[in-house]
């Protein structure tokens, strides 16, 4: 008995050792471009993570099936499960960064992991793309050479929400009470500096309600909200916290029309089960990810009908899935832009792909050709502006589907830009980063 166990232990130890020595897995073939997919299909954020991950992978499959890759360069990919855990995320990053001709860009799907890999990215020279999340100050490309918070950040999201509220209140927010109910993590805390600045300028009162992750228990928070009766609630939540919060709002009788959720808390799976109970719940969309366009038809025809879809077919067109596709599309277009400079039909290094991210120019025509015309507005990045152009719309749940409620908004640059500059400068000072000249 003992010896058999010993043998097993020894075998296990030997296998462990060989893994250490073997290091990374086999290298990819030439004329392929590797895209790492950091995902979380388990854990507290899985409800959001699964459609997002499906969307990211589906779009890569679509590009391979429809166009045969990018100018003939086939896209390869590998998923790595992070469970939204920073240490696991770092391990995934280390595992995938050197695959193929180098990782084309990491969409970490987590603010915590973004923080952890940002410092490493400076050394390893790989791109960290954080569309709609991540560090808001990384929009400043002079300091954050490798970070790309494309399409928008939490600061622009918060700003647009305030704009929409101001519109409803006929431009006067003086004396109003606005509450921020947030996931108590870097993710949830990110909008606070912008909101404080806005509160000081517009004269509204900002109150903060942190919710301890994972946020299943929110009774006391919503009781307090019931007592304080804020005029609006901004809801910075994700994963299992969102339906729990909406249910508590329902139970405590807080009107859902007064709630504004950030884009990660405004997808179909968040409200579907609550149905009519969530009627009136507002969410902001990253560009217009609630819309459908040709890309959805293509995906259905070329990938799902051939039985190669990543997720269930009825997931196509849900907000989180579309957003996943958008993120992959930005990645692919960055590769395409970089190929135009460094040679079409070639595998690119991460540094070359970075150039592509920095010189993205997605015009309306290009987006239309890609099938994203309805979903997105044109985006152009530059050396100093790594965010590109942020656009957002407010959507509302009518009990059965999302309805687009507002026109296009763009964040108020008078508030955002100084804040980006200030925080980026602080980062540069703390980390001894010498800002580039642009």
């Amino acid at each position: 008995m003992q010896f058999r166990n010993l043998a097993r232990t020894a075998a296990l130890a030997a296998a462990g050792l060989s893994m250490v020595v073997a290091g990374s897995l086999a290298q990819a073939q030439p004329a392929e471009q590797f895209v790492p997919l950091l995902v979380y299909r388990t854990g507290q954020f899985a409800p959001l993570g699964i459609p997002w991950a499906d969307g990211k992978q589906d779009y890569l499959k679509l590009v391979n099936a429809r166009d045969g890759g990018v100018n003939g360069v086939k896209l390869t990919y590998e998923e790595c499960e992070t469970a939204y855990d920073a240490a696991k995320g770092v391990e995934c990053y280390e595992r995938l960064k050197g695959k193929g001709s180098g990782a084309s860009g990491f969409d970490t799907q987590s603010t915590g992991i973004t923080f952890a890999v940002t410092d490493k990215a400076f050394v390893d020279k790989v791109v960290v793309e954080t569309p709609g999340y991540g560090l808001s100050q990384s929009a400043d490309g002079t300091v954050f050479e490798w970070n790309f918070p494309l399409l928008g950040t939490y600061w622009t999201a918060a700003d647009v929400m305030i704009q929409d509220i101001a519109k409803k209140e006929k431009g006067n927010l003086k004396g109003k009470k606005i509450a921020l109910v947030y996931h108590d993590s870097p993710y949830g805390k990110e909008p606070i500096p912008l909101l404080q600045k806005r509160a000081a300028a517009e004269g509204f009162e900002l109150s903060l309600f942190p919710v301890t992750p994972p946020g299943v228990e929110q009774k006391s928070t919503w009781l307090q909200i019931r007592q304080q009766k804020p005029d609006y609630v901004l809801f910075w939540s994700a994963g299992v916290m969102t339906p729990a919060g909406i249910r508590e709002a329902q139970a405590s009788g807080y009107p859902r029309e007064k709630i504004y959720a950030v884009w990660w808390a405004g997808s179909d799976h968040d409200v579907k089960d609550i149905g009519a109970g969530a009627k009136g719940y507002n969410a902001i969309t990253l560009h217009n990810s609630a819309a459908k366009d040709k890309v959805h038809e293509d995906l259905k025809k070329l990938v799902y009908d051939k039985g190669q879809g990543t997720g269930p077919a009825d997931g196509i067109g849900s907000i989180a899935h579309t957003r996943g596709m958008m993120i992959s599309m930005l990645q692919v277009e960055a590769i395409r832009a970089a190929q135009e400079k460094y040679g079409k039909g070639k595998s690119l290094t991460p540094e070359q792909v970075r150039w592509g991210f920095e010189n993205l120019n997605l015009t309306a025509d290009k987006l239309k050709a890609l099938g994203f015309g309805e979903v997105m507005r044109p985006v152009k990045t530059s050396c100093s502006n790594h965010m590109g152009d942020d656009w957002a719309r407010i959507v509302q749940w009518d009990g059965g589907k999302w309805e687009i409620k507002s026109d296009w908004y763009q964040s108020e640059k008078t508030y955002i830009d100084p804040l980006v500059k200030e925080y980026a400068a602080k980062y540069a000072k703390d980390k001894n980063v010498k800002p580039r000249a642009c």
């Binding site: 010993l6 250490v20 469970a83 280390e94």
Partner: protein, 354 residues
């Protein structure tokens, strides 16, 4: 045959008390150290340094610290994550607030801060024991979660509550490459492991073990419970605090309070239970089991060429991991360290058992 100690005579008390009385052990450990210090840095890849070896070493260090408290002194603690957090945040504050702070001083400072907090939360152990003490140390965990999340000063007014360290330097020498970081961790782990091993062999270690085995009897024979228990808390939290500072500084580089949550406490407790309570070597085995096995399970489908979905792989990993924990606990409740010592006993007689 290879592991017989025939002909090895101990002619002095010194020789009898040596750390490794058997010559083969000494050679083995020396060879092992040589491999760890010389061969590994030359051969291992960046990935294995950053994702495997460094986390393994740091968690092994934390496990040694916890093992002193739980395994040797018998005080169950669920506050390890909190003590790691104290170490990490104290070291961070030392580094941020004092210009040119050498890394080693910051790490030791983190350890000392953790010692103070550890002793403070160890005071209830004088009145309560067992599971009740575990709950009391749980309070430390929740308190530190709250403290690091809410008190702005701790995170140097970081708006997001996430902190990150800049360059790791010590007397003009910078730790940049994974190899340098690995060697730094390895050196610290070796120093602390030797220190811990010698402490538990000495008078104070015997006091701890006496307290663990029966505290009433121990106090009857003249061991002061206050001194014995609080020193165990102090030494344990010092080592855990240094490990926490290393985890933040060297492994993560940037972290949020969630990095030192209750999960970390439980993970470390599992480590020492699986590795072996009351054994320094067991801390290493436990850390290896918890750090390496999930990675290994993660890689197995790749090696076999199976394409299973990420979610399925992740769930399978959890299931197999859980099953293996149960398996090892049933087969050898005293942990992997006991398996190791049983193997040694057998080897001494091999190939001619009685």
């Amino acid at each position: 045959m290879f592991y017989r100690e025939n002909g090895q005579f101990k002619s002095s008390y010194r020789a009898d008390l040596a750390l490794f009385p058997v010559a083969q052990d000494r050679w083995f450990m020396l060879a092992f150290a040589a491999i760890a210090f010389v061969a590994v840095p030359m051969l291992a890849s960046d990935y294995s340094f950053r994702a495997v070896l460094i986390p393994f070493l740091i968690l092994a260090l934390a496990a040694i610290g916890l093992n002193i408290l739980v395994g040797y002194c018998g005080q169950i603690s669920l506050g390890t994550g909190a003590f790691m957090a104290v170490g990490a945040y104290a070291a961070y504050n030392l580094q941020v607030r004092i210009e040119g702070m050498p890394l080693l001083v910051a790490l030791i400072g983190g350890g000392l801060a953790a010692t103070v907090v550890g002793v403070l939360f160890g005071i209830p152990s004088l009145r309560i024991r067992g599971l009740y003490l575990a709950v009391a140390t749980l309070a430390a965990q929740f308190f530190m979660d709250w403290f690091t999340n809410r008190v702005k000063w701790v995170t140097n007014d970081s708006s997001s509550g996430s902190v990150s360290v800049n360059s790791l330097q010590m007397f003009g020498y910078e730790f940049n490459t994974p190899t340098q970081k690995y060697l730094l961790c390895l050196s610290l782990v070796v120093v602390f492991a030797l220190l811990a091993k010698n402490l538990v062999r000495g008078a104070i270690g015997r006091e701890w073990m006496a307290m663990r085995d029966m505290d009433v009897a121990a106090s009857v024979i003249g061991i002061r419970p206050v001194y014995a228990k609080l020193t165990a808390f102090a030494v344990s939290s010092f080592i855990v605090g240094v490990a926490g500072a290393l985890w933040g500084f060297v492994h993560l580089g940037a972290w949020e309070p969630a990095a030192f949550g209750i999960d970390k406490s439980l993970q470390l407790l599992f480590m020492i239970i699986i590795g072996g309570l009351g054994s320094i070597a067991g801390s290493f085995f436990g850390a290896a089991f918890i750090v390496l096995l999930p990675l290994l399970l993660n890689y197995v489908p790749h090696w076999l060429g199976l394409s299973i979905s990420t979610a399925t792989a992740s769930h399978l990993e959890h299931m197999i991991f859980g099953a293996l924990i149960v398996f090892f606990l049933i087969v050898e409740p005293h942990g992997l360290a006991r398996l190791w010592s049983t193997a040694r006993q057998k080897l001494r007689l091999w190939p001619f058992p009685h």
